[in-house]
Symmetry: C2
DNA sequence: GGCGTTCGTTCACCCAGGTTAATAAAAAGC
DNA sequence: GCTTTTTATTAACCTGGGTGAACGAACGCC
Protein backbone atom coordinates (compact mmCIF):
# COMPACT_ATOMS: atom_id res chain seq x y z
CA UNK A 1 0.00 0.00 0.00
CA UNK A 2 1.33 3.44 -0.88
CA UNK A 3 1.37 6.21 1.62
CA UNK A 4 1.55 10.00 1.29
CA UNK A 5 5.20 10.49 2.09
CA UNK A 6 5.26 14.25 2.72
CA UNK A 7 2.11 14.07 4.76
CA UNK A 8 3.45 11.34 7.02
CA UNK A 9 6.74 13.17 7.39
CA UNK A 10 4.76 16.18 8.60
CA UNK A 11 3.09 14.05 11.28
CA UNK A 12 6.50 12.65 12.14
CA UNK A 13 7.74 16.08 13.21
CA UNK A 14 5.14 16.10 15.99
CA UNK A 15 4.53 12.52 17.11
CA UNK A 16 5.85 9.00 16.64
CA UNK A 17 3.91 6.62 14.38
CA UNK A 18 4.33 2.94 13.69
CA UNK A 19 3.93 1.54 10.17
CA UNK A 20 0.32 0.50 10.66
CA UNK A 21 -0.57 3.95 11.95
CA UNK A 22 1.15 5.57 8.98
CA UNK A 23 -0.98 3.55 6.60
CA UNK A 24 -4.11 4.15 8.65
CA UNK A 25 -3.60 7.90 8.68
CA UNK A 26 -2.71 7.97 5.01
CA UNK A 27 -5.94 6.16 4.19
CA UNK A 28 -8.07 8.83 5.89
CA UNK A 29 -7.01 11.57 3.48
CA UNK A 30 -8.72 12.34 0.20
CA UNK A 31 -6.87 14.19 -2.53
CA UNK A 32 -8.60 17.17 -4.16
CA UNK A 33 -7.49 19.28 -7.12
CA UNK A 34 -8.03 23.02 -7.39
CA UNK A 35 -7.51 25.45 -10.27
CA UNK A 36 -6.07 28.92 -9.87
CA UNK A 37 -8.67 31.17 -8.18
CA UNK A 38 -10.71 28.22 -6.90
CA UNK A 39 -11.64 28.55 -3.24
CA UNK A 40 -10.83 25.92 -0.66
CA UNK A 41 -13.13 27.82 1.71
CA UNK A 42 -15.42 30.80 1.38
CA UNK A 43 -16.65 33.25 3.99
CA UNK A 44 -19.90 31.98 5.45
CA UNK A 45 -19.16 28.31 4.81
CA UNK A 46 -18.34 25.98 7.66
CA UNK A 47 -14.84 24.53 7.35
CA UNK A 48 -15.46 20.79 7.49
CA UNK A 49 -12.02 19.54 6.58
CA UNK A 50 -8.40 20.24 7.28
CA UNK A 51 -5.98 20.04 4.38
CA UNK A 52 -2.35 19.22 3.74
CA UNK A 53 -1.00 21.02 0.69
CA UNK A 54 0.80 18.56 -1.56
CA UNK A 55 1.46 21.09 -4.29
CA UNK A 56 0.48 24.67 -5.01
CA UNK A 57 -0.12 27.92 -3.21
CA UNK A 58 -3.01 29.34 -1.24
CA UNK A 59 -3.92 32.69 0.24
CA UNK A 60 -6.02 33.51 3.31
CA UNK A 61 -8.01 36.72 3.23
CA UNK A 62 -10.79 38.69 4.90
CA UNK A 63 -13.15 41.14 3.28
CA UNK A 64 -13.61 44.37 5.21
CA UNK A 65 -16.94 46.17 5.52
CA UNK A 66 -15.59 48.61 2.96
CA UNK A 67 -15.20 45.72 0.51
CA UNK A 68 -11.43 45.83 0.66
CA UNK A 69 -9.60 42.50 0.82
CA UNK A 70 -7.02 41.93 3.54
CA UNK A 71 -4.48 39.18 2.88
CA UNK A 72 -3.74 37.44 6.18
CA UNK A 73 -1.34 34.69 5.17
CA UNK A 74 -0.09 32.34 2.50
CA UNK A 75 0.37 28.58 2.48
CA UNK A 76 2.33 26.32 0.18
CA UNK A 77 3.60 22.78 -0.32
CA UNK A 78 3.82 20.82 2.94
CA UNK A 79 1.82 23.38 4.91
CA UNK A 80 -1.43 22.55 6.62
CA UNK A 81 -4.51 24.60 5.87
CA UNK A 82 -7.84 25.05 7.59
CA UNK A 83 -9.92 27.73 9.19
CA UNK A 84 -9.38 26.31 12.63
CA UNK A 85 -12.01 28.44 14.40
CA UNK A 86 -14.69 27.36 11.97
CA UNK A 87 -13.45 23.79 11.92
CA UNK A 88 -13.47 23.49 15.70
CA UNK A 89 -16.93 24.72 16.47
CA UNK A 90 -18.63 24.45 13.08
CA UNK A 91 -19.20 28.19 12.95
CA UNK A 92 -19.43 30.00 9.62
CA UNK A 93 -16.02 31.07 8.44
CA UNK A 94 -15.12 34.75 8.52
CA UNK A 95 -12.20 34.05 6.24
CA UNK A 96 -11.58 32.96 2.66
CA UNK A 97 -8.98 30.49 1.45
CA UNK A 98 -8.16 30.81 -2.23
CA UNK A 99 -5.74 28.95 -4.49
CA UNK A 100 -3.25 31.18 -6.29
CA UNK A 101 -1.86 28.31 -8.39
CA UNK A 102 -3.15 24.92 -9.47
CA UNK A 103 -3.15 23.21 -6.11
CA UNK A 104 -3.45 19.67 -4.78
CA UNK A 105 -4.72 19.30 -1.23
CA UNK A 106 -4.99 16.12 0.82
CA UNK A 107 -8.14 16.65 2.84
CA UNK A 108 -9.12 15.20 6.19
CA UNK A 109 -12.70 15.41 7.40
CA UNK A 110 -13.52 16.51 10.93
CA UNK A 111 -14.74 13.00 11.69
CA UNK A 112 -11.55 11.40 10.44
CA UNK A 113 -9.46 13.78 12.50
CA UNK A 114 -11.40 12.59 15.55
CA UNK A 115 -10.49 9.02 14.51
CA UNK A 116 -6.82 10.00 14.52
CA UNK A 117 -7.23 11.60 17.95
CA UNK A 118 -8.87 8.46 19.29
CA UNK A 119 -7.29 5.56 17.40
CA UNK A 120 -3.66 6.60 17.06
CA UNK A 121 -1.53 6.18 20.18
CA UNK A 122 -0.30 9.76 20.27
CA UNK A 123 -3.38 11.16 18.56
CA UNK A 124 -4.49 13.39 21.45
CA UNK A 125 -1.00 14.75 21.77
CA UNK A 126 -1.06 15.52 18.07
CA UNK A 127 -4.25 17.55 18.50
CA UNK A 128 -2.83 19.51 21.37
CA UNK A 129 0.44 20.21 19.57
CA UNK A 130 -1.40 21.43 16.49
CA UNK A 131 -3.47 23.83 18.57
CA UNK A 132 -0.41 25.03 20.44
CA UNK A 133 1.45 25.53 17.16
CA UNK A 134 -1.38 27.58 15.72
CA UNK A 135 -1.58 29.60 18.90
CA UNK A 136 2.11 30.42 18.87
CA UNK A 137 1.87 31.36 15.21
CA UNK A 138 -0.99 33.75 15.95
CA UNK A 139 0.89 35.32 18.86
CA UNK A 140 3.98 35.82 16.74
CA UNK A 141 1.91 37.61 14.15
CA UNK A 142 0.23 39.74 16.81
CA UNK A 143 3.60 40.82 18.13
CA UNK A 144 4.76 41.73 14.66
CA UNK A 145 1.67 43.84 14.03
CA UNK A 146 2.11 45.65 17.32
CA UNK A 147 5.84 46.11 17.14
CA UNK A 148 7.11 46.19 13.57
CA UNK A 149 6.90 48.97 11.03
CA UNK A 150 5.60 48.07 7.56
CA UNK A 151 9.17 48.05 6.27
CA UNK A 152 10.19 45.48 8.88
CA UNK A 153 7.14 43.34 8.15
CA UNK A 154 8.08 43.37 4.49
CA UNK A 155 11.61 42.28 5.35
CA UNK A 156 10.20 39.49 7.50
CA UNK A 157 8.01 38.39 4.64
CA UNK A 158 10.97 38.27 2.26
CA UNK A 159 12.93 36.38 4.85
CA UNK A 160 10.19 33.95 5.88
CA UNK A 161 8.92 33.20 2.37
CA UNK A 162 11.89 33.76 0.04
CA UNK A 163 10.29 31.98 -2.91
CA UNK A 164 6.87 33.60 -2.57
CA UNK A 165 8.29 36.91 -3.74
CA UNK A 166 8.20 35.47 -7.25
CA UNK A 167 5.01 33.46 -6.97
CA UNK A 168 2.65 36.08 -5.47
CA UNK A 169 1.41 39.31 -7.10
CA UNK A 170 2.75 42.32 -5.29
CA UNK A 171 -0.63 43.72 -4.28
CA UNK A 172 -1.24 40.61 -2.21
CA UNK A 173 2.11 41.10 -0.56
CA UNK A 174 1.37 44.75 0.15
CA UNK A 175 -1.93 43.79 1.70
CA UNK A 176 -0.19 41.13 3.79
CA UNK A 177 2.35 43.71 4.96
CA UNK A 178 -0.50 46.06 5.82
CA UNK A 179 0.02 48.85 3.29
CA UNK A 180 -1.26 49.81 -0.16
CA UNK A 181 0.66 48.97 -3.36
CA UNK A 182 2.13 52.46 -3.87
CA UNK A 183 3.44 52.37 -0.36
CA UNK A 184 5.07 48.98 -0.82
CA UNK A 185 6.71 50.39 -3.96
CA UNK A 186 8.12 53.21 -1.88
CA UNK A 187 9.39 50.77 0.72
CA UNK A 188 11.06 48.63 -1.92
CA UNK A 189 12.65 51.69 -3.46
CA UNK A 190 13.92 52.83 -0.07
CA UNK A 191 15.41 49.40 0.62
CA UNK A 192 17.15 49.12 -2.74
CA UNK A 193 19.12 52.34 -2.21
CA UNK B 1 -13.75 22.38 53.50
CA UNK B 2 -14.00 25.74 51.82
CA UNK B 3 -13.55 26.14 48.09
CA UNK B 4 -12.74 29.09 45.88
CA UNK B 5 -16.19 29.89 44.59
CA UNK B 6 -15.35 32.17 41.67
CA UNK B 7 -12.57 29.88 40.55
CA UNK B 8 -14.78 26.81 40.50
CA UNK B 9 -17.51 28.73 38.71
CA UNK B 10 -14.98 29.56 36.03
CA UNK B 11 -14.19 25.86 35.56
CA UNK B 12 -17.90 25.20 35.47
CA UNK B 13 -18.32 27.27 32.33
CA UNK B 14 -16.09 24.78 30.49
CA UNK B 15 -16.55 21.35 32.04
CA UNK B 16 -18.70 19.48 34.54
CA UNK B 17 -17.21 18.76 37.97
CA UNK B 18 -18.52 16.67 40.85
CA UNK B 19 -18.13 17.88 44.44
CA UNK B 20 -14.97 15.89 45.12
CA UNK B 21 -13.35 17.28 41.99
CA UNK B 22 -14.27 20.82 43.01
CA UNK B 23 -12.51 20.38 46.31
CA UNK B 24 -9.57 18.66 44.69
CA UNK B 25 -9.08 21.45 42.17
CA UNK B 26 -9.56 24.11 44.79
CA UNK B 27 -6.83 22.53 46.90
CA UNK B 28 -4.26 22.75 44.11
CA UNK B 29 -4.33 26.56 44.02
CA UNK B 30 -2.14 28.81 46.15
CA UNK B 31 -3.17 32.39 46.82
CA UNK B 32 -0.58 35.11 46.26
CA UNK B 33 -0.78 38.83 47.00
CA UNK B 34 0.74 41.54 44.81
CA UNK B 35 1.18 45.28 45.34
CA UNK B 36 0.65 47.87 42.65
CA UNK B 37 3.55 47.69 40.15
CA UNK B 38 4.60 44.22 41.29
CA UNK B 39 5.20 41.83 38.43
CA UNK B 40 3.47 38.48 38.13
CA UNK B 41 5.93 37.68 35.32
CA UNK B 42 8.94 39.43 33.85
CA UNK B 43 10.49 39.13 30.41
CA UNK B 44 13.15 36.45 30.46
CA UNK B 45 11.55 34.44 33.27
CA UNK B 46 9.85 31.13 32.58
CA UNK B 47 6.15 31.22 33.41
CA UNK B 48 5.77 28.29 35.81
CA UNK B 49 2.22 28.91 36.97
CA UNK B 50 -1.13 29.90 35.64
CA UNK B 51 -3.21 32.28 37.71
CA UNK B 52 -6.84 33.06 38.39
CA UNK B 53 -7.37 36.67 39.36
CA UNK B 54 -9.51 36.88 42.50
CA UNK B 55 -9.21 40.63 42.84
CA UNK B 56 -7.27 43.38 41.13
CA UNK B 57 -6.02 44.37 37.72
CA UNK B 58 -3.09 43.34 35.57
CA UNK B 59 -1.49 44.51 32.37
CA UNK B 60 0.40 42.54 29.73
CA UNK B 61 3.17 44.35 27.88
CA UNK B 62 6.17 43.93 25.61
CA UNK B 63 9.24 46.11 25.45
CA UNK B 64 10.33 47.02 21.94
CA UNK B 65 13.97 47.24 20.85
CA UNK B 66 13.54 51.00 21.06
CA UNK B 67 12.67 50.64 24.74
CA UNK B 68 9.06 51.60 24.18
CA UNK B 69 6.42 49.60 26.06
CA UNK B 70 3.52 48.10 24.15
CA UNK B 71 0.44 47.24 26.20
CA UNK B 72 -1.07 44.04 24.79
CA UNK B 73 -3.97 43.40 27.11
CA UNK B 74 -5.52 43.79 30.53
CA UNK B 75 -6.93 41.27 32.96
CA UNK B 76 -9.14 41.65 36.00
CA UNK B 77 -11.22 39.80 38.57
CA UNK B 78 -12.28 36.35 37.36
CA UNK B 79 -9.91 36.35 34.40
CA UNK B 80 -7.17 33.79 33.96
CA UNK B 81 -3.61 34.92 33.48
CA UNK B 82 -0.47 33.26 32.22
CA UNK B 83 2.06 33.57 29.48
CA UNK B 84 0.82 30.47 27.76
CA UNK B 85 3.74 30.14 25.32
CA UNK B 86 6.28 30.27 28.10
CA UNK B 87 4.16 28.09 30.37
CA UNK B 88 3.73 25.40 27.73
CA UNK B 89 7.30 24.86 26.66
CA UNK B 90 9.20 26.44 29.55
CA UNK B 91 10.73 29.03 27.24
CA UNK B 92 11.76 32.44 28.60
CA UNK B 93 8.85 34.86 28.44
CA UNK B 94 8.94 37.65 25.89
CA UNK B 95 6.18 39.38 27.77
CA UNK B 96 5.67 41.11 31.11
CA UNK B 97 2.67 40.83 33.38
CA UNK B 98 2.34 43.68 35.86
CA UNK B 99 -0.23 44.46 38.54
CA UNK B 100 -1.85 47.87 38.22
CA UNK B 101 -3.70 47.57 41.52
CA UNK B 102 -3.24 45.53 44.67
CA UNK B 103 -4.03 42.12 43.27
CA UNK B 104 -4.81 38.65 44.60
CA UNK B 105 -4.04 35.74 42.31
CA UNK B 106 -4.83 32.07 42.87
CA UNK B 107 -1.87 30.31 41.29
CA UNK B 108 -1.64 26.82 39.83
CA UNK B 109 1.72 25.26 39.12
CA UNK B 110 2.47 23.53 35.83
CA UNK B 111 2.65 20.21 37.67
CA UNK B 112 -0.71 20.71 39.35
CA UNK B 113 -2.30 21.62 36.03
CA UNK B 114 -1.04 18.28 34.71
CA UNK B 115 -2.75 16.64 37.72
CA UNK B 116 -6.02 18.29 36.72
CA UNK B 117 -5.55 17.08 33.15
CA UNK B 118 -4.94 13.54 34.35
CA UNK B 119 -7.01 13.13 37.50
CA UNK B 120 -10.20 15.03 36.71
CA UNK B 121 -12.67 13.23 34.43
CA UNK B 122 -12.94 16.07 31.90
CA UNK B 123 -9.44 17.37 32.58
CA UNK B 124 -8.08 16.77 29.09
CA UNK B 125 -11.10 18.45 27.61
CA UNK B 126 -10.49 21.41 29.88
CA UNK B 127 -6.94 21.72 28.54
CA UNK B 128 -8.07 21.64 24.97
CA UNK B 129 -10.87 24.15 25.54
CA UNK B 130 -8.46 26.56 27.25
CA UNK B 131 -6.06 26.37 24.32
CA UNK B 132 -8.88 26.81 21.83
CA UNK B 133 -10.22 29.77 23.78
CA UNK B 134 -6.84 31.45 23.81
CA UNK B 135 -6.43 30.77 20.12
CA UNK B 136 -9.78 32.32 19.25
CA UNK B 137 -8.96 35.33 21.42
CA UNK B 138 -5.65 35.82 19.58
CA UNK B 139 -7.34 35.51 16.18
CA UNK B 140 -9.98 38.04 17.15
CA UNK B 141 -7.29 40.49 18.13
CA UNK B 142 -5.38 39.85 14.92
CA UNK B 143 -8.47 40.61 12.88
CA UNK B 144 -9.04 43.82 14.79
CA UNK B 145 -5.46 44.96 14.19
CA UNK B 146 -5.75 44.18 10.50
CA UNK B 147 -9.18 45.60 9.97
CA UNK B 148 -10.04 48.32 12.47
CA UNK B 149 -8.88 51.91 12.60
CA UNK B 150 -7.48 53.17 15.93
CA UNK B 151 -10.77 54.95 16.58
CA UNK B 152 -12.69 51.69 16.20
CA UNK B 153 -10.23 49.84 18.41
CA UNK B 154 -10.73 52.50 21.08
CA UNK B 155 -14.50 52.10 20.82
CA UNK B 156 -14.09 48.34 21.15
CA UNK B 157 -11.96 48.83 24.22
CA UNK B 158 -14.57 51.09 25.82
CA UNK B 159 -17.23 48.58 24.93
CA UNK B 160 -15.34 45.44 25.98
CA UNK B 161 -13.94 46.86 29.23
CA UNK B 162 -16.38 49.56 30.34
CA UNK B 163 -14.99 49.80 33.87
CA UNK B 164 -11.32 49.82 32.88
CA UNK B 165 -11.71 53.33 31.47
CA UNK B 166 -11.62 54.56 35.05
CA UNK B 167 -9.10 52.10 36.45
CA UNK B 168 -6.33 52.36 33.83
CA UNK B 169 -4.12 55.38 33.04
CA UNK B 170 -4.81 56.69 29.60
CA UNK B 171 -1.31 56.15 28.24
CA UNK B 172 -1.75 52.40 28.75
CA UNK B 173 -5.03 52.56 26.87
CA UNK B 174 -3.45 54.50 24.03
CA UNK B 175 -0.69 51.94 23.78
CA UNK B 176 -3.28 49.14 23.80
CA UNK B 177 -5.17 50.87 21.01
CA UNK B 178 -1.92 51.24 19.10
CA UNK B 179 -1.42 55.00 19.11
CA UNK B 180 0.43 57.61 21.20
CA UNK B 181 -1.27 59.60 23.96
CA UNK B 182 -1.72 62.81 21.94
CA UNK B 183 -3.39 60.81 19.25
CA UNK B 184 -5.79 59.14 21.65
CA UNK B 185 -6.63 62.59 22.98
CA UNK B 186 -7.48 63.66 19.44
CA UNK B 187 -9.62 60.57 18.94
CA UNK B 188 -11.48 61.21 22.19
CA UNK B 189 -12.03 64.82 21.21
CA UNK B 190 -13.36 63.77 17.82
CA UNK B 191 -15.75 61.28 19.41
CA UNK B 192 -17.11 63.71 21.99
CA UNK B 193 -18.22 66.21 19.34
C1' DG C 1 3.11 39.43 -33.92
C1' DG C 2 -0.26 42.74 -32.31
C1' DC C 3 -3.96 43.84 -29.01
C1' DG C 4 -5.88 44.35 -24.59
C1' DT C 5 -5.64 43.55 -19.90
C1' DT C 6 -3.26 43.33 -15.70
C1' DC C 7 0.22 44.84 -12.74
C1' DG C 8 3.95 47.81 -10.79
C1' DT C 9 5.76 52.31 -10.29
C1' DT C 10 5.58 57.11 -9.93
C1' DC C 11 3.65 61.79 -9.15
C1' DA C 12 0.96 65.38 -6.60
C1' DC C 13 -1.81 66.18 -3.05
C1' DC C 14 -4.05 65.12 1.41
C1' DC C 15 -4.44 63.64 6.08
C1' DA C 16 -3.87 60.90 10.46
C1' DG C 17 -0.75 60.05 13.62
C1' DG C 18 4.13 60.95 15.51
C1' DT C 19 7.17 64.19 17.92
C1' DT C 20 8.46 67.66 21.01
C1' DA C 21 7.38 70.78 24.18
C1' DA C 22 4.34 73.72 26.84
C1' DT C 23 0.50 73.90 29.76
C1' DA C 24 -3.22 72.43 32.58
C1' DA C 25 -5.29 69.26 35.61
C1' DA C 26 -5.24 65.65 38.93
C1' DA C 27 -2.95 62.68 42.43
C1' DA C 28 0.20 61.75 45.79
C1' DG C 29 3.30 63.16 49.61
C1' DC C 30 4.19 65.39 53.66
C1' DG D 1 -3.29 72.91 52.88
C1' DC D 2 0.63 73.34 49.99
C1' DT D 3 4.19 71.26 47.14
C1' DT D 4 5.77 67.82 44.00
C1' DT D 5 4.96 64.42 40.77
C1' DT D 6 2.22 62.28 37.53
C1' DT D 7 -1.03 62.39 33.86
C1' DA D 8 -3.90 64.51 30.12
C1' DT D 9 -4.49 67.88 26.76
C1' DT D 10 -3.18 71.06 23.37
C1' DA D 11 -0.37 73.35 19.79
C1' DA D 12 3.08 73.49 15.88
C1' DC D 13 5.52 71.08 12.93
C1' DC D 14 7.03 66.72 10.52
C1' DT D 15 6.52 62.37 8.18
C1' DG D 16 4.84 58.18 6.17
C1' DG D 17 1.14 56.15 4.07
C1' DG D 18 -3.44 56.87 1.47
C1' DT D 19 -5.73 58.42 -2.81
C1' DG D 20 -6.42 59.02 -7.61
C1' DA D 21 -4.48 59.21 -11.86
C1' DA D 22 -1.01 58.59 -15.38
C1' DC D 23 2.40 55.96 -17.41
C1' DG D 24 4.86 51.98 -18.81
C1' DA D 25 6.01 47.15 -18.58
C1' DA D 26 4.72 42.45 -18.62
C1' DC D 27 1.70 38.96 -19.59
C1' DG D 28 -2.17 36.48 -22.05
C1' DC D 29 -4.76 35.69 -25.73
C1' DC D 30 -6.23 35.16 -30.37
Amino acid sequence: MSIHTNLIRSFGYLIHLDEAEKEFISSLFVSKQYQKNDHFLREGQVCREAGFIEKGLIRYYNIKDSGEEVTLDFGKENDWTCNYESFLDHSPSLRNIECLEPTEILTLSYENLQRIYNEVKEGQKFGRLICEFLYLQAIKKLNSLYTDLPEQRYLHFVNDYPDLQQRVPQYYISSFVGVKPPSLSRIRKRLSL
